[in-house]
Symmetry: C2
Subunit: 304 residues, 2 copies
């Protein structure tokens, strides 16, 4: 199966610790790599994980809190020092270009590549990226400031042609592309051979949903329904549910509840508060609601 993976660069929350880094992760679909959030030090971990960051074309920033953005000046600057020529697009809620502009002008005034900022609204799910094999939609979340997760969805795959049937019906090569695209075949004698007899369905397209930071809410569940992998913030344990509510964060049990109700196949917990040097209690709590839950680990890659 074509590669579709997530590598965790940082899974800490706002208060940094010496154990965890602030939010950042790489989504790799068929060797196209995307950066999701960019906390301080992301460029170093990017390299430690042996990704070539010149292959990066799009960065997705969930919201304008420092632990999700403060690695941008260093990364953008280093890409320039390394002689990048290709355009780079940073997708974020409104305000990032304005906040970073003076800093970039003072420190990176002659970047050798085009840097584009694209803003999304945060009020409703939007298609913000699309290529031949992938779409990225925003997932509006409930945080103290406008904040969106991201849904990375493979495009539906074309069915497989059945060679035995193509031979049996002596279907000309010129027709094969049309059949793959969904057409029925009309034989020279007028007989119609239905598409379904000539093909086997492709495997289902895969979906990865990234939800950080957010208070638990039913509003975003339809947007992540049936995802193969859900990364959901689990800043607190259920015993700190009051803190979670107050700060618009989730507990591990709530993250698991979101995964369960959305029908996710797997759940990766992250965005852990500095108060948990050991997150085992969060894992236990999540597994009691949604058994396939996992604690995300920095530097580790998770295949969909």
């Amino acid at each position: 199966m074509e590669r579709f993976e997530v590598t965790i660069l940082g899974n800490g929350s706002a208060m940094p610790t010496t154990l965890r880094n602030p939010s950042a992760q790489i989504v790799n679909l068929r060797e196209k790599i995307f950066l999701v959030d960019c906390g301080e030090g992301t460029q170093t971990r990017f390299r430690q994980c042996r990704f070539n960051f010149q292959k990066l074309r799009h960065i997705f920033i969930s919201h304008l809190h420092g632990d999700h953005c403060f690695g941008l000046p260093g990364l953008l600057s280093t890409l320039g020092l390394a002689g990048r020529g290709e355009e780079l697009t940073v997708h974020s809620p409104a305000g990032l270009e304005e906040a970073l502009g003076p800093l970039l002008r003072a420190f990176c005034d002659r970047l050798p590549y085009a840097l584009r900022f694209e803003e999304f609204s945060g009020n409703q799910s939007e298609l913000i990226y699309e290529d031949r094999s992938l779409t990225v939609h925003t997932i509006p979340l409930r945080h103290r400031i406008p904040c969106c997760g991201f849904l990375f969805a493979e495009k539906p795959l074309l069915p497989h042609l059945r060679r035995d049937m193509l031979d049996y019906y002596q279907i000309p090569i010129a027709w094969r592309g049309r059949i793959k695209q969904g057409e029925d075949y009309t034989a020279p004698d007028g007989t119609l051979i239905p598409h379904s007899r000539l093909t086997t369905p492709a495997r289902p397209a895969r979906k990865y949903a990234y939800c950080s930071d957010t208070a638990y809410s039913e509003t975003y569940l339809p947007l992540i329904e049936g995802c193969d992998l859900l990364y959901h913030e689990a800043t607190f344990a259920q015993s700190e549910a009051g803190q979670a509510r107050l700060r618009y964060h989730s507990t591990a049990a709530e993250a698991a509840e979101a995964a369960r109700r959305a029908g996710a196949r797997k759940l990766l917990l992250g965005h852990f508060s500095a108060r948990y040097p050991d997150c085992t209690p969060l894992l236990q709590e999540a597994r009691s609601v949604f058994p396939p839950a996992l604690l995300s680990e920095e530097g580790k890659t998770y295949a969909l």
Copy 2:
């Protein structure tokens, strides 16, 4: 002897590597700590070295290149999250407040402490900090943009009173402070006892000079004369002297020449180019000019 130490948090140059961090170091004089430069990730290394960064009152930034500044937003923000109340002053060449302002307003709009920016000119040496035991002067350097090193100088120490002589001349306790400050003693019968007979001189005050980034030049040598420890950039080996000249950096041999001519007691080399995973050749080159040269090591503390 009272503590006077330098801890290296980062000794890399502009292009980050997985081996070295960008410039940052801590100067600790009698448990007052000062941060010198603040490359990306400084706050994490600050903690890894087990310093309490709430004790920080002054940050000195040598120049406005990203590898000396990009750790500031994260550090300033974290100090706020940790509930700091005391004022913090950032000393730098002109332009830092303007460059950081919009970012800080967007990301740290309610810092619970007063943040002051103080600018120095860079054209001539200025006194930019002073307390009971220390002065900090700028050291104008020769770089592509305005850039200053910093001279941390202990204030001259008071002489030690000789108890045997105080007893012998039966000098009243009230006089002791005046004698320590340099006065001669006048006995009730009018006899003058010279200060030098009543005291032994204090040890010489110590000086630490930080010179990064700079092309080698004689202009700054008088300002660092006789320092106990010199940290001098050594971005390149002598074989890359052309590159050093072009980019306003120094070679290891030039750093050693600066130490030799300034009469420094010890030399710490740093700000190494990413092209040297192993800096042994730089050390050999420096030692051929100035034998007490050392390669600085991240996480290591050097006493004056």
